[in-house]
């Protein structure tokens, strides 16, 4: 390791904060691709220092809906995907094509990152479109069903200003649309209950978005029995077999 390593020490620091551009960026990436351990270490140390500084401020809890959505999505998705060969393969192919003009390592790093990002964005967009289409089809079918009825729910003690409507068809299930719901207290979620027979059935849990709105799709009763009562209570996160918390929404 040489004593003077300029301009690469400066480049490494600026690279860690994303400020390097133009000829300096190209020169540094080509230099890094030669395997300079000093620069790699300096970039890593600077990133770590920035991370420590950025996280040293007072914590601020994010909206509870974010955690709820993530945990629910994780539970449905299973183990994270292992299809990581695709961006790598594309990155390697891109490197081979451009090898005549640039060093293979430099191009591989650049293209792998870009293609990986594009692959993530494309996959996420496809998933969103497919999910939205499926949800819209279900909602349309519910609206077309001649047996669908609308139940109005009014805010109770736990959510006095809240209003909700449930589109319900006994054979197809329903759709809850709620507004003006206050955020649930930490560790709690709203739970929808349907009563068809003697005991209430847990029909799903939800948290409203930042605007107090919530939408929940509900499956039909397994027996197909007509639902007589719908209500929403505040319950602890996790499995709850029967309503135990304060009532948030109930029929008028």
């Amino acid at each position: 390791m040489s004593v003077s390593h300029e301009p690469f020490d400066t480049f490494a620091a600026l690279h860690a904060v994303g400020a390097l551009d133009g000829d300096d960026l190209r020169a540094f990436e080509a230099h890094l691709a030669t395997g300079c351990a000093r620069c790699a270490t300096l970039v890593r140390q600077t990133e770590q220092a920035l991370a420590r500084a950025a996280m040293a401020g007072p914590p601020e809890p994010p909206p509870s809906a974010v955690r709820y959505r993530l945990v629910r999505r994780a539970a449905a998705a299973g183990a994270p995907g292992r299809r990581r060969w695709l961006p790598w393969t594309l990155g390697i192919v891109a490197a081979a094509i451009a090898a005549g003009a640039f060093s293979a390592a430099y191009v591989a790093a650049r293209y792998e990152a870009r293609l990986g990002q594009m692959a993530r964005q494309t996959a996420a967009a496809k998933e969103r479109v497919a999910r939205t289409e499926s949800e819209l089809r279900e909602e349309l079918a519910l609206l077309r069903d001649p047996t669908t009825r609308m139940v109005e729910l009014r805010g109770q003690a736990a959510a006095p200003g809240a209003v909700a409507r449930v589109l319900w068809a006994d054979g197809a299930g329903g759709l809850l649309l709620a507004t003006k719901l206050p955020p649930p207290p930490p560790g709690k979620v709203y739970a929808l209950w349907t009563v068809a027979g003697d005991a209430p059935r847990a029909a799903g849990v939800f948290v409203p978005d930042d605007g107090g709105r919530a939408t929940l799709r509900v499956a039909a009763e397994a027996s197909g029995a007509p639902v007589r009562v719908l209500s929403v209570t505040l319950e602890p996160e996790g499995a709850v077999a029967a309503p135990s918390g304060a009532i948030a929404l109930a029929p008028r």
């Binding site: 620091a13 904060v17 390097l20 133009g22 401020g57 955690r67 945990v71």
Partner: protein, 179 residues
């Protein structure tokens, strides 16, 4: 191996409880950083969700030799927030064909216009930097500006901007060095 690294490895195996614990540990620390870059709480919440989902999906690629869990997550969070900020800027700047295009480089709002978020992320480490260095570093870190863009913004020579950033980052490394 730190506890956070353990959680990342458990996340990679699909452990939903570990994912929840990882989120609980880091989300309140990361959210102020994202809010500093994306002041709209809805944007910030969506970004936070993307960051944690991507972290879960890429947990298998985490390599402790290449950085701490903190740096692994913060670097991703900042990058995603800046991507969103730039995308919003591009949408806003997409003028009709033939109309003159804005050439001004956008910078984050100065602290007095961001009173709600300023203190939450402006850590003591940043505060202890000399003003010119802190200004350049904030434009780069929170504003996502490159050295050339900062030069245009501050109307300072490129060499001056590089030196300020370099000195700021050298000091920052010294200040937050683990005891």
């Amino acid at each position: 191996m730190s506890n956070a690294a353990d959680l990342i490895h458990q996340m990679a195996e699909g452990d939903a409880e570990a994912f929840g614990r990882f989120y609980d540990r880091y989300a309140p620390l990361i959210y102020p950083l994202i809010l500093r870059i994306l002041p709209d709480p809805t944007d910030a919440a969506e970004c936070l969700q993307d960051v944690f989902w991507e972290s879960r999906e890429r947990a298998r690629t985490y390599d402790a030799a290449r950085g701490t869990p903190d740096a692994w997550l913060v670097t991703r969070a900042r990058a995603r927030a800046i991507e969103r900020m730039r995308a919003a800027r591009r949408r806003r700047d997409a003028l009709p064909l033939g109309a003159p295009r804005a050439v001004a480089v956008e910078a984050p709002a100065p602290p007095e216009r961001m009173a709600g978020f300023d203190r939450s992320v402006l850590t003591r480490a940043f505060e202890r930097l000399p003003d010119p260095q802190r200004e350049a570093l904030e434009l780069a870190y929170y504003g996502g500006l490159t050295q050339t863009e900062i030069t245009a913004r501050l109307k300072q020579p490129l060499g001056t901007v590089k030196t300020r950033l370099r000195l700021a980052l050298d000091r920052l490394r010294e200040m937050v060095k683990p005891a």
